[in-house]
Amino acid sequence: MQDKLQENESLRAPTIVGSAQPRKEGRDKVCGRSQYVDDLRFPHMLYGATVRSQISRGKIAQVNFSPDFPWSEFVVVSAKDIPGQNSIPLIDNEQPCLADGRVNHAEEPILLIAHSDRHRLDHALRSVSIEYEELPAVFTIEESERQTQVIWGETNVFKSYLIEKGDVDEIWQHADYIVEGEYSTRAQEQLYIETQGIIAAYDPAQGITIWGSLQCPYYVHKALMHVCNLPADKVRVIQMETGGAFGGKEDYPSMIAAHTALLAMKSRRPVKIVYDRLEDMAATTKRHPSRTRHRTALSKEGKILGGEIEFVIDGGAYATLSSVVLSRGTIHAGGPYYWPSVRIAAKAVATNVPPHGAFRGFGAPQSLFALERHMDRIAQALHLSPAEIRRRNFLKPGQTTVTGQTIEEPIELETLLDRALALSEYESKQRRYADQNKDSRHAQGIGIAAFLHGAGFTGSGERYLSSLVAVEGCPDGGVRILVSSTEFGQGTNTVLCQIAAETLGLAYEDLTIARPDTSEVPNSGPTVASRTVMVVGKLVASAAEGLKQTLINAALLKPGYSRQDFRAACQRFLAERGPLRSIAQYQQPEGIHWDDQSYRGAAYAAFGWAVYVADVDVDRTTYSVSINDFVALQEVGRVLHPVLARGQILGGVAQGIGFALYEKVEWRNGRMANSQMTNYIVPTSADVPPIRVYFEELGNAHGAFGAKGIGELPMDGPAPAIVNAVVNALGVPFDSVPLLPENIFEALERAASNRWLRSSESR
């Protein structure tokens, strides 16, 4: 396949791939014509609402319906109305669709209510009261670890991994330096601007149809078969235009879809549930909070000899995606460095907060924040510059990662680092700031983060998925792509059409892509894990190649054909022989081996690599941090669309800035206390700095036209680069994000009082 592509490329340089084609659905978006789920209304449609738990843990003693409320006008669904299984299937089937007898977090759905006038739902929600026998709850990683309350299994642990490479116990005696540190990150809300929503319609003959804002149509499909007890052909899931997702619409749409479906089955009317912002922020998933401990042995030359890493994430009340978030975070915990020996012990623990879930980066931003802060701590302990400690320990081709995967890509991280240092004027700024900071109200600093991000599902994941794509010839002679991969802003539609057009030798305009509808498109897997361009794109290229070969084999097309020839051949095939369709299914590339038991082997088909540099200004009077300049340099293989690729990096960096400096979920007894845009602060246009985006393009044997994954990578680097820069500016360590002005104030006050104490003592 790859050979054929290269052969084609040598005949005709690619012109569509690599160029800024107009976003396929872009015109509809700028004209306000795109249809999002809340833009749909059906005749006789009801609106649904959710009665949620008011406590974090306990037994439901009694549900009381206010007797003077006209309940007969409302549709009410409880766990007893579920025709199938009362659980949302994901990795395990442990999360109830509706609580039955007990609750494990304060946003757990218990009842569903629907009415044709949505304004009457509030009154209905207030007319239900639930009596509980409350049980003690746990809200933090530390409380969960202490096991004073066992809320999950026997030890409160959803999942644990142990990665061992070399003999780490043996290295400590040879170490010239041992550096330890503990780092933490908090929950982060995805805050897509379109809240979650689903419409369900039910008909006994057709089954359930879902229209929704979602990332993974086949996850929803599977959930509905399971909850509604329906066969595959009686469940249809249609993705509407989706107003941002970032992982937040990976698993929770299955829950809302099940809820709307249950109401639709009971009422026999279409039902819409669209969450308002409060409910969306409080009840749906967020990024897992984390704690990472490092203990690292180094030689006097500044080489890592080995280390122990303990990585813990807070999964919330149900396991949901925690095991895979943990897996990615664990594998990324060693970063882009060579560890001769390492032991990584990782676990996801249970707490009584709403389940945490997928958010761009999926565990890696957490463990990489810890590692990249720790590298700066090591640099300081060894009196080396942050750039130098990284340079001495970068992975090189031929060396192995923490899972024993040999780096086969020709990546030169030192070159990447040098370019990032030059672009950011790192060394001159570092010197200048050190001079200027002494007697200035503004302390300036500069910080680095070097990191990697694995593209595609981890380990054997892609083999289990066995994704399927199709392309088909259309009556007008154009070609249509059929995949369940969804567009939610990243550019799926556009890039897949570019890939197919390039492969077929057609114009970009000749390609269309079907709306993801499970009654029509094959299962190309979930739209997650930076896999769409690399994995699904490669399959689209392969299917397109198959379509072309079919026409050539039918003697309707000759190599060297024109766009018009193709059109004519396609139409003739359809007229004479019937449907023209080509499918492609994922085959694991040769030489990629992964062992799920030992967690050893090739974790990812390819990695993206990056060095980010943040240049910050800390105001010593207001304690606020602003970013003067941000350099984002990465190697993500071939860039297939320069505007979209840059847009992915810019958007990811902005979310990373939020993660670093602004976004703090305030918890009060296990529920989010600031579930509003008014008090959960994300970067506005006034907060983003100039972000300078640069790409190295080495190419990649596994992805379409040499592309690797790109979407998640930019989330990993900003937080450590920014916090390292603040530490550089102030000379005080910070090891948690978000880093808010009050944290800086406290640390500076503490440092000042320590200095005063020391000087008093010396006097």
Binding site: A20, P22, R23, E25, G26, R27, D28, K29, V30, C31, G32, R33, S34, Q35, Y36, D38, D39, R41, H119, D122, Q190, L191, Y192, I193, E194, T195, E241, T242, G243, G244, A245, F246, D276, R277, F488, G489, Q490, G491, V643, L644, R646, G647, L650, G651, G652, V653, A654, Q655, Q676, M677, T678, V682, P683, T684, S685, A686, V688, P690, I691
Partner: protein, 163 residues
């Protein structure tokens, strides 16, 4: 709910150049009336509390948040929503530059953002980079990191002065 606190009444205004009359509760949100009664679903709801700007529309040349405006307040007003943007030269140019520069990703903030950008350019046809940043600070975007939106606005301003 406010909407049921009074009887429905007839309210008339102009939307995108057309005179429209609706029979609604006077305290209903202009956002809901536009979307439900007039089918103008290009105006989006992001937060319902005036923080995100997704529901921005023009009302008598002011940019307003339609989630905060009771419909009664729109009586007699000239409204412009994203559906009417193509009829206005400045907004049409912004639609093009948003497309070219990557100013729209998921698209949910885009209608409000384009109208906010149009409002900015109406007041200040050649804004500096800083004025663009400040001028759009009432409209949240979670996808783009804003820079390609700034570039789209700056490009639209350049094109307008070339005309």
């Amino acid at each position: 709910m406010n909407s049921s606190s009074a009887d429905k009444m007839e309210i008339s205004f102009w939307v995108n150049g057309e005179r429209r009359t609706v029979r609604v509760y006077p305290m209903e949100r202009l956002l809901d009336v536009l979307r439900r009664e007039l089918g103008l679903t290009g105006t989006k709801e992001g937060c319902g509390e005036g923080e995100c700007g997704a529901c921005s529309v023009f009302m008598d040349d002011s940019l307003v948040l339609s989630c905060l405006i009771p419909v009664a307040q729109a009586e007699g007003a000239q409204l412009l929503t994203i559906e009417g943007a193509s009829a206005e030269q400045r907004l049409r140019t912004l639609q093009e530059t948003f497309l070219e520069c990557g100013g729209a990703q998921c698209g949910i903030c885009t209608p409000g953002m384009i109208l906010a950008a149009g409002h900015l350019l109406a007041k200040n046809p050649m804004p500096t980079a800083e004025e663009i940043r400040e001028g759009l600070a009432g409209n949240l975007c979670r996808c783009t990191g804003y820079l390609q939106i700034f570039e789209a606005v700056a490009e639209a301003a350049r094109r307008a002065t070339r005309l």
